[in-house]
Each structure stands twice: as C-alpha cells, then as structure tokens.
C-alpha cells in the first residue's frame, strides 16, 4: 500500500477508494488508489507551558453510502497518535466512525471506517496534539535620554520544530500555565493526586479533552487576511484564567523556522527609578531599578505580559544606544508592577560600615543552680563559679550612600536580622516583616548620606523573642 505522507506535508488524510477493509473480495493488498483531500483550514493553539499544541484542521471529504475508509498518517512528525480525533462538522447525524485501526506495520498511521448515509461532501474536523511548536515572549524597551519614558515593544516568537509545515494556520497562543491535571482529574472523576497513576493512553485522551474544553472553536472575527502592508495585530482575549493571543490572519511557519511578531507597542511609557538594597532578592548590593506598571496610566495594561526576556536599552545622548540589561520577567497581570533590575550603578556608592561594637546587660548563671545575676560595674565580683548566660550586643552601623549621578536618587534599603533584635535609629524605618526593617532616603546629586542605626541584639538568656522591633533614637 502506498503511503500518502509527503516530505513537507507530514500529516495527510487519504480517502481510499477500495471498499471496507472487512469486505474481503475487494481488499487489495498491494495496489491502492487514494485521493488526498486538502486542508481547508488549520488552527494551532500553542500551550507553551506544556510543549503541547492542539491542532484543529478541517477538510472536505466526499462520502458515499456505506463504509468509507479514511487513512490518516503523520510520518516524521511529533503528533501524539492517541490524541487524534475525528469529528463531522456537517451531516453529523448521517456519518459515524465505525472503528479506528492502528496498523501494526505502519506506526504513524491510522484508519477510520466511516459509515455514511449520504452521498456527497461533508466537512470533517481532525484534532490532535503535537509537540515541537513553542512560543515565547520578549520585550524591548528603549529609555529616553532623561530616563523618564520608555518606548516599549512586546513580541511573540513562534518556533516550529514539529516536523510538519502548517500552511496558512491560524495561530493562538495560550498565555499562562494551564492546569491540565485539574481538568484531567475532573474528567476522570478522580482526585488530582491520582492523575499521575493513570495509564498513558487514558491520560493522553483526557488531556486532549481537557485542553479542548479550555479552548473554544475559532472565533469568526479572529481569522482573515489583513492588508499586506500593515503590521499584524495580535488580538488578546481573556478566557477563564488564561489569556489567548490570536495572531491576525494566518501564518505559515515552515518546519525548523521561527517567526517573531510584535504583540504590543507602548510609546512614552512612564517609569520611575529607584535604588534598592534587598539582599534576599538582589544580593547584598544596591541595585538600580526601573519601575513601571502594566496599567493604563503607563499606557499599557491592555494585556497581561507573558514570561519573557526584557531587554533594556537607553538613548545615550550621542545618537546611539547603551545596552543596559537583559532580564527574564515573570508573567505580569494587568495592573501589576514591572520591576527591572539594572544592576549596580557605578555612579552610586553604597557601603555598610560597622562603627563600633559593645556588649552590656550581662548576666551570669551560678554553676549548678538556676540562679542568674546581672553583672554590674567592672569591679563587681559576682561568683567565681558562674558563666555568662545572657548579654546584649550593641553594634552601630553607618549605611553610606554617595550619589555621583546628575540627579537626585531615591534609595530603599531592607535589612533582615535574626534573633531578638531592636533596630534603634532616627531614620523613618518600618517593619517589612517580623525580621526585616525597611528604611529609605533621598540623596541629592553629588551628595553623601550617612544613615546610622544601632542594632541591639539580645543574646543567650536575654533573648525572649525572635523578631526585630523598631525604636526611635538618635545615633551618633
């Protein structure tokens, strides 16, 4: 039997004009005749988080009354055979799939025997999952010379390594991590914890149904060919917990190629610069941040921003750009913040200096007893047979900030302290959490700030808590 797969068209549908496989006298072993109905349309829904693409293709097939064999093959592609399903879009009440056969000698092929009550054409839809088609987002931001506004562009890049060329396909991108396990559990009527123990065939089948439940059929207005000289629009729609990007018109992405399209553009997006020290997030250093928001006030906010690389350039004022940073950002919902860490600014010096250290409130424990005595002046003898059991460490720090930039800067500092601590300072500090203190300062251009605080840490038996409290005090 001749295989209908072709080099560039990996998946193919053939109508075999021999009688039903079961009809013995007409069954040909080696000589076949088949027709190959073209795809009428194809839609790709790419779930990037799962390396999973739902392909929905329609074809027109002529049927005659009785049993009609259909052959579907996908040599050299990454289609999941267990996921292939056939649906009749027209004459559904007069067409039935009698059986599906996976021949043992042709691994990437199946046959459907379709019982038809009609003679004529019907539209069919074949759906399946394939892997190897992925998409990613990336962003390009160019700050103006004054660093007050950004020209921000978002892009989506679709890469096709599936082994198949989907010509003129409508492309839909699912933004967000889909939770198919939940859908699978729902469909299988089992707890989510048991999803992993499902047989592969069952899992794949349920996964397909789950994914299909999430996606509606293509919306009529989403397809169509745009004017040739216009950049394509990417239509963004919310769907349940997800966002679907539908690329305007259709795309052909040959196997092995990638294609990048602009998904949005924001002109004059305002942003703020802040210097931050947050050791838990950025290491123990002061980093320069671009802070903007994915909201209307910032001339954004039309779509969540999918995970992707954010590349930042700046107009260097010399008819050129400076490259600032490339940073991976996480999914940013509408109205949420976008924080870009540009790293350390060599024009802003940041030093934490320990100025002095001392101990007081010393307590000793008399050996063999539960008796504690506080140590008084230097000459007081408490008991020879006693050991230091509690004390307070007092350390005075100066957080020095030198601003050599031409603009005033805003500095925000977070410091975490273990144990039972008291943060004593005249700074307007507040608790970020139970063991972290946050304080801020503004430093004028060319100026130096010395932010002093004393850290009092109760040690040994003096420690009664595991938190930091803030106490106003002038530290010299």
């Amino acid at each position: 039997m001749r295989t209908v797969s072709m080099a560039m068209i990996g998946s193919a549908l053939a109508c075999c004009f021999w009688l039903a496989l079961q009809a013995g006298p007409a069954q040909a072993e080696n000589i076949d005749l088949s027709t190959v109905p073209d795809r009428q349309s194809v839609q790709l829904t790419i779930y990037n988080s799962e390396d999973l693409t739902l392909v929905r293709e329609t074809r027109k097939v002529s049927f005659k009354p009785g049993v009609n064999p259909l052959q579907f093959s996908w040599a050299g592609t990454l289609i999941d055979p267990s996921s292939v399903e056939l649906r009749f879009l027209s004459h559904a009440d007069k067409l039935d799939v009698l059986d599906t056969t996976f021949p043992h000698d042709k691994p990437q092929m199946l046959y459907w025997n379709v019982q038809s009550e009609i003679e004529g054409e019907a539209a069919i839809e074949i759906t399946y999952f394939t892997s190897g088609i992925t998409w990613s987002a990336n962003y390009q931001a160019i700050a103006n010379r004054e660093e007050t506004q950004l020209a921000l562009e978002g892009f989506v890049r679709v890469s096709n390594n599936s082994g198949e060329e989907y010509e003129d396909a409508q492309v839909r991108l699912v933004v967000g991590t889909i939770n198919l396990v939940e859908k699978i559990a729902q469909l299988a009527q089992i707890p989510m914890s048991q999803v992993k123990s499902l047989e592969k065939a069952d899992f794949d089948g349920l996964r397909l149904r789950g994914a299909m439940m999430l996606m509606d059929a293509p919306k009529a207005g989403a397809a169509g060919v745009s004017a040739p000289a216009e950049a394509k629009q990417i239509i963004k729609e919310g769907l349940s917990e997800y966002f679907i990007y539908t690329i305007d018109g259709t795309e052909t992405i040959p196997n092995g190629w990638s294609k990048q399209l602009r998904s949005f553009e924001g002109h004059a997006v305002s942003f703020k610069i802040q210097y931050r020290c947050r050791p838990n997030e950025y290491g123990d250093q002061l980093v320069r941040m671009y802070l903007l928001a994915n909201d209307e006030a910032s001339k954004l906010g039309t779509t969540p921003l999918p995970d992707g690389v954010f590349r930042v350039f700046r107009d260097n004022g010399r008819d050129g750009l400076s490259f600032l940073i490339a940073q991976q950002i996480k999914y940013v919902p509408i109205d949420d913040k976008i924080e870009i860490n540009l790293g350390v600014d060599p024009e802003v010096l940041f030093e934490l200096v320990k100025l002095r250290s001392s101990r007081d409130n010393l307590w000793v424990q008399i050996h063999g007893t539960n008796t504690f005595k506080q140590v008084g002046g230097d000459r007081q003898e408490v008991d020879e047979r006693s050991t230091v059991a509690g004390w307070d460490d007092r350390v005075v720090f100066a957080q020095r900030v030198r601003n050599y930039t031409a603009k005033p800067i805003e500095v925000e500092i977070r410091r975490s302290f273990g144990g039972h601590a008291v943060f004593r300072s005249a700074l307007a500090a507040k608790n970020h959490d139970y063991q972290t203190v946050e304080y801020a300062a503004k430093v004028a251009p060319g100026a130096k700030a010395e932010l002093k605080y004393e850290l009092l840490t109760h040690q040994g038996r003096n420690a009664k808590q595991a938190n930091v409290t803030i106490e106003g005090a002038e530290i010299k």
Partner: protein, 420 residues
Amino acid sequence: MRRLAVAICLSAGVLAVGWPADALARIKLITLPVRERVEIQLDNPHATLVEEERIVPLVEGVNQVDFSWANTQIDPQTIVFRVLGPAAEKKADDKQPDDKQQADEKEGAEAGPLDVKVLSVSYPPNEAALVWQVSSSGSGAARVRISYLLGNLNKSFNYRAVAARDESTLTLSQYIRLQNLANEAFGSTGLWAGFGPRFSKPIGINQTKEMLIAKYEKVPVKKTYTANPQAFGYLDQPQNKLRIPMHYVLKNDRQNKMGEAALEAGKVRIFQEDGRGSTAFLGEDWGRFTPRDDEMRLYLGVAQDIVVKRTIDKNVVRRVAGNLHHREVVLKYEIENFKDQPAKLDVVENLHYVRGEVQGDTGRDVEWELGKETTFAGGPDKEQSAYDQAVFHVDLPARTADGKAKKFVYKLHVILKNEW
C-alpha cells in the same frame, strides 16, 4: 573581510504577509547595502553593543531584508532594527548631532515620504541569519540602524603612572584597549567607553587598539609605608620583624586634579623620573576599581630600609564575674628608618587579630578601648580606623649624617572588654 551582510530581496510584489514565498525560490535578485556608519558602545561592563547604519533601498509593498553573519558571536536575541527615516535625512559623518538636530531628524522621519514598518522577523533553521519583513509605503531608500551585542570584542583598561623624582606628584595616563577577536572588521568606527572622549578608528580582525582616554598631570601622591601584621604578615617572624609594604596612594577627587570619573580596574605600570630626562620602571600593580573620592593604592614592593619589630609586651586578664573578663594587651613597636629621606609610617592593628594572638577566636565582635600606656601621639586616625581596627601615623626622620638610624619605640595599649 566582511562577515556580516544585509541583503534586500527585491521581491516585494510577490510576497504575501504570511511566509516569504521566495524563501524557496532559486532565482533571487538581492542588493547589498553597505555600512554607512558604525558605532561601538563600550559603556556596559559586560557586553559590547555594535550599532550600524545602512541605507536600504525599498520598494512599495513588503520587502524582505536578510541579515546574516558567519563566524561571529552576534547574539541574535539582541538584534534591534530601527528605521531612522529617509536616507536623505542624515549624512553619514562622524559628527555628534545636537539635540535640535536629533529632534529635527525625528520629525523628518515621522513626516517623511516613506512609511516604513517592520512586520515580522523570521529565523531560518541552522543558519546565523534572520529575515525582516518590512513594509514601505513607497519606493525609496531608508536609513536603518541595526544594533546587536557582539561577543569577543573586548575592552580593558590600563594605566601608566610616572612619579616625579621627589615622589610628591605623579602623572597618570589611562588607556582603553580594545581587542577585536570578533572575526569582523570595522572600518572607521565610533568608539565610546561611557566616559571620556569618543574615538573614530578602524579596527581590523584580530587587531588590538589602545587609545589614551584620560591624562591626569601632576597628581599629588602620598608614598606610604605600612606596618599591618594582619594584612601583610612578618618579614622575619622569629625576630618579630614586620613586612613593610610601600604604596603610592592617589585620591580620585577634584582636589587632587582627578575625580572626573571612577577609575576602572586595570594594570598600572609605574615609572619614576630619573632626573636625567628619562624614567625608571618601578614595577606594576593591578589598580582596583576606584570610585570618585576613593583612594587608589599602588603597591611598590617591600621596604628594606624601614625596620619595625613588633612584640606583645603585656597580656593580663582582669576577671569581672565568673568566666567574664577584660584583657589588657600592650604591643610594642621598635622602629628604625635607615633611609636618607624622612618617611611616614602607618601602623595598623586589627583587634580581632590581636585577640586571636592572645586568646583565640571567640566568634564575637571585639569590644575594645585604648589604654593609658599608649604612646602614639595624637591617637588613632579617626577616618581610617574602624570598629575593629586602629590606625596610627608615625613620622620617621631620615637617618643622621653619621649614617645611624634612630630607634623609636611606641606602645599600643588596648583593653579587650567583656570577653569569655
């Protein structure tokens, strides 16, 4: 040898918005726009940005612009394609445009006859190339700028320091060195390090180019001798003789004729005028990144003519309560200057180090105060001392005319408090 190429396929009439149909065509006509201007931005410490301008002929409709490279480390993810405007808007020269000119250009680009847009970018498999689909409202030439990060085009900084005969001043020259291992030649190219002047130079493949970026004339310099057992150890421990390193210390501030920018890290070759119109090579050191208002210390070697013997003269425990005690330590320094010139010696003691010598490390901060037996005049230098470090300065006269060096004895008395 050119490794980067931009090709314009004249196929606009044939293309649909979808896939470039002529990707598979065997017969192509392409134009190869040459570089009009190249700028290499060296201001990022970790990456080199190349910006090139080309004049691209476009026809009305959709044009395919191929950009390919071979054997170069272009990061394809960083390639930015910007249409600056019609080609006639700006002449390719090396002049820096002022703000007004830039604004005019922008305006010209917006109001220009050509409306040029990038529709998509495609990346062919297994090729160092990409294809822009660019739409143009009419036929004509557009000036475009292509920017990308390029690997193996590396920069470094180095310095030449020439001290005056009397070592009171020093002339510091700062050079930027650009090494082109990127496998791509650049003709007359604008170069900018993020500070200092902008250069315009050609850079060939595998070439290294060194350019003077700043010269600081007659900068006041301090020559220091330092006794710091914790940092520099002993020259002869059985005899308690400390290693005394010598440094030139420059302060990167306006008062000292510097302070225009931070000094980047780099190798410093140090010379001294020999008084006969030439210079003598004193050695070299790695200069650390030196922000404005900070000091750059250049190591000159170990002084042989200044001898410092350090001994622990006293180590007494004063019990407070139970195992809680104070500890009194007296360090004695016997100092001789065998040089013909006077010298200034910095005596630095790290109190953690001292406690480690007499007691061992407790892991706790050291709490200390100066005792009455201290004989250093003027007390510790407040600016240079820290919570665990005391710094004193000692002026040492030159040896006497009869060749004898006077021995000076100083004592440092510290009380280590609340130890156990």
